[in-house]
Subunit: 389 residues, 2 copies
């Protein structure tokens, strides 16, 4: 294989790009959405169902997998792919975001971050080095460096200090990555993470330092943590515009269907979000017309599929009335059918976006999307970050 990231084309009217990530677990066609598989499973789905919905890469979490079942166990299993029986690509998050959003009593120092497990309250230390080691054990195709994810709002002083720490950690992560080897006979790549809160000058300075370290790809972190949507788009767009064209760009934790359509236009290649899977379990499904709360009583006797034009297994076999019944009596199959549909929708969305980019009419695709899709401002997928203690 040639380079890791192959740029195929750019849309002439927007910043949208189409490309391919070449991994030893298959090619990943960008722009790509990565379903979240926090604990070694994309909630409610089997690996075969993910494949059936044309999922090409999933996201795992070093934080959760380190706590349960542990990096050593997954190493002994032959890596996360083998452990969970998933033969396509995997990216693991470093655990930075989880430490800052989930665990109590964390203590930052230049060494790393001490935190209490959200499971049993036990004490742990994440350092740039051991988080790299953990991700060697897990064996994802792509690993992320340890970073500090800043809260919103965030003072300039806090953001400045955090930026410095994040850069120091990025250097140490890169060093450890360079001094260790992949354990399972296939190549691993490492991404740096841009921070700097909503301060553009800090974001740029942070990126400049990151670029010197020459990571395999660059992520934008610290967004979708409560800031206004306009800020998210502005920062993501400006930061992405300063990133090298020949490296993949990953916007972490984003987002709603309309967000994907927006940030693809800004030149983002990769994203992940719990929204399609978590909303499904809460009884909300996505269609090209907008969101549907499928568990609502209005669907009680509605024998049409969720989306009559959808080709997913759920829509080919089951009615709104049946899925609504399953939700109202608390059956697991409800969660499965809604999740499969939402993943199918997200994958179809990025695949259609990619096709539009290849045909060089992404702007028209975006306009067509908005003409059909009813955007509703509802609960956010952003999660406030706990403040530094």
């Amino acid at each position: 294989m040639g380079s890791f990231f192959e740029r195929i084309t750019e849309d002439p009217e927007t910043g949208a790009r189409a490309g391919i990530l070449h991994t030893n677990h298959g090619d990943v066609e960008t722009p790509i959405f990565m379903p979240v598989g926090t604990q070694g499973t994309v909630k409610t789905q089997s690996p075969q169902e993910l494949l059936d919905n044309r999922v090409q890469i999933i996201l795992g979490n070093a934080y959760h997998l380190y706590l349960r079942p542990g990096g050593e166990l997954i190493r002994n299993a032959g890596g996360l792919h083998k452990f969970m029986s998933w033969e396509q690509a995997i990216l693991t998050d470093s655990g930075g975001y989880q430490v800052f959003s989930m665990s109590d009593l964390r203590r930052l120092s230049s060494e790393g971050v001490r935190f209490q497990s959200h499971v049993d309250g036990s004490q742990h230390l994440f350092t740039p080095e051991n988080v790299t080691d953990i991700q060697r054990d897990l064996g994802p195709d792509i690993m992320m460096v340890l970073d500090e994810c800043t809260p919103y709002p965030c003072s300039f002083e806090y953001a400045q200090k955090s930026h410095e720490l994040t850069i120091e950690w990025a250097k140490r992560s890169k060093d450890r990555f360079g001094n260790t080897k992949a354990l399972f006979g296939y190549k691993q790549f490492q991404f740096g993470i841009n921070q700097g809160s909503t301060y553009l000058d800090l974001r740029f300075k942070n990126l400049e330092e990151l670029l010197k370290l020459e990571f395999d790809g660059y992520a934008i972190g610290g967004l979708a943590v409560g800031e206004p949507k306009s800020e998210l788009y502005k920062i993501a767009g400006l930061v992405a515009s300063q990133m090298p064209k020949d490296k993949p760009r990953y916007l972490m934790g984003v987002g709603k269907p309309e967000d994907l359509v927006e940030v693809i236009a800004l030149g983002i290649d990769m994203f992940d979000c719990v929204m399609p899977t978590r909303n499904a379990r809460n009884g909300t499904v996505f269609t090209w017309g907008g969101r549907m709360v499928i568990k609502n009583a209005s669907y009680k006797s509605d024998f049409r599929p969720i989306d009559p034009n959808c080709t997913c297994t759920t829509c080919r076999n089951f009615s709104r009335a049946y899925i609504r019944h399953l939700f109202s009596v608390g059956e697991v199959l409800a969660l499965r059918l809604a999740t499969a549909h939402n993943i199918h929708f997200y994958m179809e969305l990025v695949q259609k976006a990619r096709q539009a980019i290849l045909e060089k009419h992404y702007k028209a695709f975006k306009e067509a999307f908005y003409s059909d899709y009813k955007v509703i401002e509802t609960e956010s997928y952003s999660k406030p970050i706990k403040r530094r203690k």
Copy 2:
């Protein structure tokens, strides 16, 4: 198609029989185990997964489906097969057992049984007639008559009175069945249910009356409600021996793998039980060597499949360590993988039993089963029946 039930062969050394139930939703090869799909879904499984595990007929519950989503809704959906997207055969229980085991404040009269819904406390009346009508709405291939399921232990007087009521109801059920038609263009069959508690004379008298009504098949009810295993086998065997050879025999609510092996030898053709599905969700799986509590810590680092010789999807793709991890972190996929394996095991068990009957060495099969399978007396699958008020 010829007759509903086709007898193929009998084992020369035991009472075991092999046959076929011909339904408009496919042939059902007996002896057959029917997984329980109480609320229009076999818990955690998709219809495709049931097919993959060679399930030929499932059991639905008129009681649950009448309460939610209601018979009318399922009739409007085109019947239960269409509603749940299951194209093989379905048998529905009359709701008699559920009224007596689940609902409070039930009042028996010769008219029928008044009961409170376990869902919302609302008042309902089941009569032999409306339960037949509900099962016309649901559209199973096989429906059961309304009966009274006696508790254990049960006085002779109680059992005598209950027998009389059950026979009266059976007559009225048969009449209603004869005066109504199948709604969806395929044939429905109706089974009578033998009662009489543990009093053999009552059981025989009850059966004699039932046989006069000429049902399409005969079930043995009121067992597996707390009586000793020896009583269950004795009564099932003696009652089955008095049943016509050319009609299918169904032992309701049984059982563990070893029970299936026993009652097949007694000439039983059909059975259902929540055990494979419910135990799976509690973390217990079945193998030819016996039960395994897969969520136990002893499987933490065990990378073998549940059963290395098993050909089910779970065993072909996932390790004990992975399934144990999924259980310990509370992931839905744990329930799915364990359930699929257990259904596969139960289906393989009855299919191997049938093959042994066809080859006329069922006794040797049964002995071989016991030489491998470690029987453990653990929690019972029987459910005590609430006493008449």
